[in-house]
């Protein structure tokens, strides 16, 4: 993700670790009294199995357009000032940041609701897949029957 891409789109994919401070700063606004954010971190366990690390793969073209759609829907449904989402792709270690959502709004109801909407819809619709490596030597693509609870 380059700075230019970040400034022209609300949803981005990043194949390297990214800084949160500039993403948050881009949402600062004198009209906004509330800011809600969500981060997904790589956990050391999943469904009872010890996880060593994971890889995210995306269908980038469709992920970017579907992600933008999710953000546009959030801006339309909730009284927010602005919102952004960045999702990592590639190899991630335990504890690494996998996804970040930030929303600014006049009031906290809208900030929380939009933030929740964006992470829920991103997990449910945006073509990104998680490949987990387990401590027992196995590795698997996650293709949940229903959107993941994490």
């Amino acid at each position: 993700m380059t700075q230019a891409e970040a400034s022209t789109s609300r949803f981005a994919l990043s194949d390297t670790a990214f800084e949160l401070a500039p993403l948050r700063a881009a949402l600062l606004s004198a009209q906004a009294g509330a800011y809600a954010s969500f981060e997904g971190w790589v956990r050391d366990h999943h469904a009872g199995r010890a996880v060593l690390g994971l890889r995210y793969e995306s269908y980038a073209e469709l992920a970017l357009s579907e992600g933008e759609k999710v953000l546009a829907e959030a801006l339309e449904r909730f009284a927010v000032v602005d919102a952004r989402c960045v999702h990592r792709v590639g190899d991630l270690a335990i504890g690494e940041l996998a996804v970040w959502v930030g929303v600014s709004a006049a009031h906290r109801d809208a900030a929380f609701a939009a933030c929740r909407y964006i992470i829920d819809e991103t997990k449910a619709r945006v073509p990104i897949w998680k490949h987990e490596r387990y401590a027992d030597g196995a590795a698997d693509w996650l293709h949940p029957e229903l959107p993941a609870a994490g």
């Binding site: 793969e57 269908y59 469709l62 579907e66 996998a98 997990k123 073509p127 897949w129 693509w141 293709h143």
Partner: protein
Amino acid sequence: MSRLTVLYFASLRDAAGTASESVEADARDLRGLYEILRERHGFVLPVERLRVAVDGAFARWDEAPRAGSEVAFIPPVSGG
């Protein structure tokens, strides 16, 4: 018969052994195309659990395969 490109992701790519291939699509619709490729590559996922995209946009399973298009079968996503 129409030649088009198929993209595979995640477990479908592992099963197909390739991220994309050029195929002769002699199927009436995209559902039929998937069933042919499922049999060829031994995909586990049934069509009901997938979505399909054409040229980078979600599409309907009953659309006819178009020559020169890029078709992607989208397994259940697990981002976040």
